[in-house]
């Protein structure tokens, strides 16, 4: 397994968590989300986002509405659902646990 592959795997796992976190603050359309993820250097190829969004939407963690754009095609504004919030809460707890666990282990080494 190459370094790139490992990095990609690590990123992918937390990508959903981050998408939900972004949308938990306020609703956003894919370009906003991509902007945030790119700033955090979490995403390499933009295309990765779309299957994830569809998946989360199908899981009913996300919902969306259409909005006309003044300068381009209509925008799909995603927002988090009640189930999504609950899901995110669980992920937050897991993340804290993992973070602590990783710190503990890497410190010891």
């Amino acid at each position: 397994m190459s370094l790139e592959n490992t990095q990609a795997q690590m990123r992918k796992g937390i990508l959903e968590f981050c998408i939900l976190s972004i949308l938990d603050k306020k609703e956003a359309y894919p370009s906003d989300i991509l902007e945030a993820l790119k700033q955090a250097k979490l995403i390499v190829v933009e295309g990765t986002l779309y299957p994830l969004l569809t998946r989360l939407k199908n899981m009913e963690l996300l919902t969306y509405r259409w909005e006309e754009s003044p300068s381009g095609p209509p925008r799909k504004y995603y927002s988090i659902t009640k189930i999504g919030k609950a899901f995110l809460e669980e992920l937050n707890a897991t993340w804290t646990e993992l973070h602590e666990a990783v710190q503990k282990i890497t410190e010891n080494n």
Partner: protein, 504 residues
């Protein structure tokens, strides 16, 4: 000079150079291929199209009216090659095609809103019925004979607790109202309609597997209901037996019919055996009933976890213990029947020409003295057990007199014990003139238990003389003595040439 093409994405129009268009449409084609038929493919495709259109709209301005090849290349490079991000997510997507959350409603206990462990509340959440109804059913149907308690505890173990808020959301379904039922039915009708059309079209395709799976699911559920039904009917049988079954033994005491526990106490050698037998009985019937209920419940609600397995295994184990105990008690009791002992109580002699056997019977249930070989009506009076039915045997007499032998026999662990038991049998038989008075009943102490105590009367019949029993004449013809065959076939019995007389 380059040729441009006008393109429309989701109502947004723009111009694009021909070579750029070629690149773009190649990319989209590849995207489509990579997406294949996975769940939400069309949606992902559309979203990416919109993203591309949006990036184009950022590139374009009043000064730049046309999308060029380099723009397209840059944008597509940012998006990434379809094989890079679609394949990555294939595993995810496959997961997503599994039944989603709404269909994946699970059963959880709801201790927050429950009384004890939230089992009833969990069931009511799952089925969307009022928790009061579930509780009432539990109390009404199960609390009898303590079964509710056992069943509740088992469900407590096997139904997982709703730990997270997601579990909480998962465990709730749509409430059952007239409206939802109506819409469900309508939807179902539509689905069936669509499905049958689709089914006709794509029978040969992969849909068949899913269809088979759903049929399998249906069969599993039906089987679950069937097992629950067996469990319930066994429970009812069990209750009927416990409540009413005490009257099922054909035996009487002064207080009416004998109860099962009294009956077992006169059969089993050890008083503790009776208790063991009851424990075995409860273990066997209890685990049988709970086994069917839990298995049925499990199939119906698909509770797959190790607790379910462990419960079922331990129920089978308990049932096996019950069987083992009853085998042990049976073997122990059986040992007490091992050896037969016989004593001759008295011998009477009569010189009558025709001996009349007079049956003395007090019981209207046993009008005949002669045993029919079946289990007679047993009754207990004080410390004595009374049984009915005497065995008669007829053999040729060596002289001209009737010799009447009265034998008592019983079984026991040893010959000594069997003989002792036989000695304690009491039976009335008197000879007055030409009449032999024989009582239909005989008695033995309760403490001897029932060890196959029997009374045999063997009468030696002299040549040319006969006996009257039950208005029938029984005689012995020495001329046929050598032939070992039936020599007298009368209405009520067969007299064999070897002297044995067998009642019909």
């Amino acid at each position: 000079m380059k040729k441009t093409i006008s393109v429309n994405i989701k109502g947004y129009n723009f111009l694009i150079e021909e070579d750029a268009y070629e690149t773009l449409s190649n990319y989209l084609e590849r995207l489509k291929q990579n997406l294949g038929h996975q769940n939400g493919a069309a949606e992902i495709f559309e979203d990416i199209e919109i993203r591309i259109a949006e990036l184009f709209s950022k590139v374009l301005s009043d000064k730049k009216q046309v999308v060029e090849l380099e723009d397209v290349n840059r944008i597509l490079a940012n998006l990434g090659d379809p094989s890079d991000f679609i394949e990555q997510d294939e595993a995810f997507e496959k997961e997503a095609t599994e039944p989603n959350w709404k269909e994946d409603r699970r059963m959880y206990r709801d201790p927050k809103h429950g009384v004890i462990a939230g089992v009833c509340k969990g069931i009511s959440n799952y089925l969307n019925i009022d928790v009061v109804i579930v509780r009432a059913l539990f109390i009404l149907v199960f609390m009898i004979a303590g079964f509710g308690v056992a069943f509740y505890i088992l469900l407590w173990i096997i139904i997982p607790k709703a730990k997270s808020s997601i579990d909480r959301l998962k465990m709730r379904g749509k409430p059952i109202t007239v409206e939802t039922v109506k819409s469900e039915v309508e939807e179902a009708g539509e689905r069936v309609n669509k499905a049958s059309k689709k089914f006709a079209k794509t029978f040969a395709e992969s849909e068949t597997y899913d269809r088979l799976r759903s049929i399998g699911n249906l069969i599993t559920k039906a089987f679950g209901i069937f097992l629950l039904f067996i469990g319930f009917s066994s429970l009812i049988t069990f209750l009927v037996f416990i409540i009413g079954g005490f009257q099922m033994i054909p035996a009487q005491t002064e207080n009416g019919f004998l109860s099962i526990s009294e009956f077992t106490s006169i059969i089993l050698s050890n008083p503790s055996d009776s208790q063991w037998l009851w424990i075995a009985f409860y273990l066997m019937s209890g685990s049988w009933i709970l086994f069917f209920m839990i298995t049925g419940f499990n199939l119906l609600f698909q509770l797959k976890n190790r607790w379910t397995k462990m419960s079922i295994i331990s129920l089978i184990f308990l049932g096996a213990i019950g069987i083992a105990i009853s085998i042990y008690v049976g073997a122990r009791t059986g040992r007490d029947f091992a050896i037969e002992g016989e004593i001759e109580n008295q011998v009477l002699t009569s010189s009558a020409n025709q001996l009349q056997i007079i049956q003395e019977t007090t019981s209207s249930l046993e009008p005949h003295v002669v045993s029919d070989g079946k289990f007679g009506v047993i009754s207990i009076e004080g410390d004595q057990i009374t049984n009915h039915g005497i065995h008669f045997e007829f053999i040729p007499s060596k002289d001209s007199l009737f010799h009447i032998h009265q034998y008592f026999s019983a079984h026991g662990l040893s010959h000594r014990k069997a003989i002792d038991k036989a000695t304690r049998i009491q039976h009335q038989m008197n000879l007055t003139g030409d009449s032999l008075w024989v009582s239909s009943k005989y008695q033995f102490p309760v403490s001897d238990k029932m060890r196959d105590q029997e009374v045999y009367i063997t009468i030696e019949i002299p040549n040319q003389k006969s006996i009257i029993l039950d208005k029938q004449i029984i005689d012995f013809n020495p001329e046929n003595e050598l032939k070992n065959e039936v020599i007298s076939q009368k209405k009520h019995g067969i007299l064999y040439s070897n002297g044995k007389f067998k009642m019909k």
